[in-house]
C-alpha cells in the first residue's frame, strides 16, 4: 500500500516537474507599463494581437505612476522587466548612464520613426527608446454648444484668451478648470502651462536652452512665463474652486465642471489624452459636438502657434529574441494603429495611415500637429528628474499655493545647478 502510494507520488512529481519545465520553456517577455483604465485596456488589445501573431506570451505589469521608483529598484536588484515604458526621456537617460538599456537602432526600422522623436531618445549616437504614440499638449478643451449659446469666440491670441477669460468672469462664470493633483506626480499639469507659455514668450531656441539649463530659472523670460500662468491660476475668480480647487483636483477629473449645467468652468488646458477621461466620466458626450479643442493661442496675431507634445516611451532592459520581437511590434504601424485608434492618441510611426483618425478630436489634433511649424517635446520630461520630476513640480504647487515667485524660482535654480553638473 505504502509502496503504491510512493510510486504514485513519484509519478505525480515527475509529471508536475515536466509541466513546470514546459512552462519555463515557453517563450515569454515581460513589459512594465504606467497605463491604467482605458489606456491599459487598449494596450492589452495590442498585446493580444502580438501574441496571436508570434505565439510569445507577454506578461503585462501595470505599475502606474510609481513606475520610476519600481524600475530603479528592480534594475538595481538585477531583476528589471524585459521591456518597460519609461516615465520620460530625462529618466530614460539616467538608465542609459547606468548601461541599463539596449540600443534599438539595429532592431527596429528607424526609417519609420520621425527624427524629431528619435532625437529625444538618442544618446551618443544610439537610440534607446521608441515612442508608441504622441499626445498634443497645447490644447484647450471647451464645450462648443456653451460657447455658441453665450456668444464666446475661440481666441486666436493670448490677449484674446485673457479678454475671453475676463469676459466670462465678468458675466459671473468661472473661466478655467485646472487640476494639478496627480498623486506622487502632482504639479505636472502646471508645468505644461508654463512650458507652453515659455515656448510662446521666449521662442523655441530659448526653450531648448532652458531645458539644457543654459538659461537660468531666474531669467526674465522664464519669470514672464510663470507670471502669465499665475495671471490665470492665482486669480480665484478665474479658476474653478480657486487655488485650493486647482491644487486638490485630480487632473483626470478636471474636465468634469465643463459639462455641468450651468457650467462650473468653461475651458481646460490639457493634452489629447484628456478625451479618454472625458469619455470615462460621461460616455454620452459626443466628440466635436459636446466637447472640442482649440490650440493654445500664440502671443500675438500672425505668429505661428508652437505645439508642445509628449508621448509614451518604451525601452528594452533585457536583450532577448522575445523582447526584440515585442519592441519591433510596438514601434510598428499595426500596434500603433490599434492603440491610437482606441484612445484618440496620435501614432508616431510615419507609415500609419492618417485615415485611422475617425474621431473628430483626434483628426483635429493630427492636423494641428502636422501643420505645426514649431514642435517641442515636454520640457519637464526632458530635464533631469531632480528638476523635471522634482522641484519644477513642487515649484508649481508652491507658487499656486501662494509662495512668492522669487522664492520658488530660486529653489528650482538651486536644484538645477546641482542636477546639471
Amino acid at each position: 500500500m505504502l509502496k503504491r502510494a510512493l510510486t504514485l507520488l513519484l509519478i505525480v512529481t515527475m509529471v508536475g516537474g515536466l509541466g513546470v519545465w514546459a512552462v519555463a520553456q515557453q517563450k515569454t517577455v515581460s513589459i512594465a507599463v504606467t497605463w491604467s483604465g482605458q489606456e491599459l485596456q487598449a494596450f492589452q488589445d495590442v498585446i493580444a494581437q502580438f501574441q496571436k501573431e508570434t505565439g510569445i506570451t507577454v506578461n503585462v505589469e501595470p505599475i502606474g505612476r510609481d513606475l520610476a521608483t519600481v524600475l530603479v529598484t528592480r534594475f538595481k536588484a538585477g531583476n528589471p522587466p524585459d521591456v518597460a515604458a519609461m516615465p520620460n526621456p530625462g529618466q530614460m537617460k539616467q538608465f542609459v548612464d547606468e548601461n541599463a538599456l539596449v540600443p534599438l537602432e539595429s532592431i527596429i526600422n528607424m526609417n519609420q520613426q520621425p527624427k524629431g522623436f528619435t532625437d529625444l531618445t538618442t544618446v551618443d549616437g544610439h537610440c534607446y527608446g521608441i515612442f508608441m504614440d504622441a499626445d498634443v499638449k497645447s490644447l484647450v478643451w471647451y464645450d462648443p454648444k456653451v460657447f455658441k449659446a453665450k456668444g464666446y469666440t475661440v481666441p486666436t491670441t493670448w490677449d484674446e484668451l485673457i479678454n475671453l477669460t475676463q469676459q466670462i468672469a465678468r458675466s459671473g462664470g468661472t473661466p478655467w478648470a485646472i487640476g494639478l493633483e496627480s498623486g506622487a506626480a502632482s504639479g505636472w499639469p502646471g508645468t505644461d502651462w508654463i512650458e507652453d507659455l515659455m515656448l510662446r514668450i521666449a521662442g523655441p531656441q530659448a526653450y531648448d536652452l532652458w531645458i539644457q539649463h543654459k538659461i537660468s530659472w531666474l531669467n526674465p523670460d522664464v519669470q514672464a512665463a510663470w507670471r502669465a500662468f499665475g495671471e490665470i491660476a492665482l486669480n480665484p475668480k478665474y479658476v474653478y474652486g480657486g487655488t485650493s480647487g486647482a491644487l486638490s483636483t485630480n487632473f483626470g477629473d478636471a474636465a468634469n465642471p465643463l459639462f455641468t449645467d450651468p457650467p462650473g468652468a468653461y475651458m481646460l488646458k490639457q493634452a489629447t489624452f484628456m478625451q479618454s477621461f472625458i469619455q470615462q466620466a460621461d460616455p454620452n458626450l459626443v466628440a466635436g459636438e459636446d466637447y472640442d479643442i482649440f490650440p493654445f493661442p500664440p502671443m500675438g496675431p500672425g505668429l505661428p502657434t508652437p505645439i508642445e507634445g509628449s508621448g509614451d516611451l518604451v525601452s528594452v532592459f533585457n536583450n532577448t529574441p522575445e523582447s526584440q520581437a515585442l519592441i519591433k511590434y510596438l514601434a510598428g504601424a499595426e500596434a500603433q494603429t490599434i492603440f491610437c485608434q482606441k484612445l484618440g492618441k496620435l501614432a508616431v510611426n510615419n507609415t500609419v495611415n492618417p485615415d485611422i483618425y475617425t474621431n473628430p478630436i483626434s483628426k483635429k489634433a493630427f492636423e494641428i500637429l502636422s501643420n505645426a511649424q514649431v514642435f517641442r517635446f515636454d520640457a519637464s520630461d526632458s530635464m533631469p528628474a531632480q528638476v523635471g520630476s522634482g522641484t519644477f513640480w513642487t515649484g508649481v504647487l508652491d507658487y499656486v499655493n501662494g509662495t512668492p515667485l522669487d522664492t520658488v524660482l530660486t529653489k528650482i535654480e538651486q536644484s538645477a545647478q546641482e542636477a546639471y553638473k
Partner: protein, 309 residues
Amino acid sequence: MHERGIRKRLSSASGRVGQFLSPSPRLRPWFYVGPSLFLLFLFLVYPAIETIVLSFFGPNSHQFVGLANYRYAFTDSTMLTSFQNNAIWLVIFTIFTVALGLVIAVLVDRVRYERVAKSVIFLPMAISMVGASVIWKFMYAFKPEGIAQIGLLNQIVVAFGGKPIAWLIHSPWNNVALIAVGVWLWTGFCMVVLSAALKNIPKQLLEAARIDGANEWQVFLKVLLPLLWPTATVVTTTMIVFVLKIFDIVYVMTNGNYNTDVIANLMYKQAFLFGNYGRASAISVILLLVIVPMMWINIRRFKGQMEMR
C-alpha cells in the same frame, strides 16, 4: 519535587549532547546564538555599515565627497522643513497617542462594555497605513463651494454653513491633519498595552488607597500612574521610534507637498526618484542616529520592567 527531577534529567541530557557537539562549555553559547548572529549581521549590521559608507560618496557611489551629503542635509531648505515637521509629528503624535491610550485604558476599565469599546478603538490597527491614508484622503476631500462635498469633514463644515476647507493644503494645519490619521491608527496600540499593564495592578492596592480616603482622582495620580509609569515609558519610546520613521501617511496623502515633507519621505525621493544614493544614505544615517538613543532607552526600560517582575 517531581518537576525538579525532570529538570535534572533534562539538563543532564542536554549536557551530554552539548559535550558531544562542543567540547568547550565556553564555546557552547556561540553555537546556539551563531545562526541568529549571522542573520543579524547579514540583514542588519552589514547594510547599516554599507549605508554609512555610501553616505560619504556621490550620487552613484563612485567618488568620495566627504561630508558634502551631510552639509546638504543640514542646510537644504526642504530638509530643514522636514526636520521641523518630524519634530511636530514627534510632539503631537506621541502626546496624543499615549495620553489618549492611557485615558481610554483607565476609563474602559470601569465599564461593562469594555471589550466592545476596546475592539472599536483597536480596529484601525488592522488597517494598513496606506489603506488608512487613502480612507482619510476621502475624509479630507475638498470640492469647490456649491457642489456636493464628497469628504465627510467638509460636508459637516458645509452643513453648518461654513465654506469648504482644503485640509491637506494649508500649512501648518495640514501637518495636524496628517498627524490625526496617525493618532487614529495608533491610539489603539497604546491603549491595549497600557490596559494590559492596568490589569496587572493588584486590586488590593487600589482598595487600600480608597479605604485610606483617597478620591478617584488621587487614586489615579498617586497609585495608578506611578505603577503604570514604566509601561508608559516603553510605549512612549516605541511611539517616538515609530514616528521618527513616519513615511506612508505623508507619501500617500500629500507626498510631502505644501510643507508637509518628513525625513523618511525625502530619503525615499533622493534614492528612488533622483537616484542620489549618497544623499539618501546620509539622510538615513541621520535618522538612525536620532533613533538609536530612543531605542537604547526603550530596551533599558524594557529590561528594567522585566527585572521588576
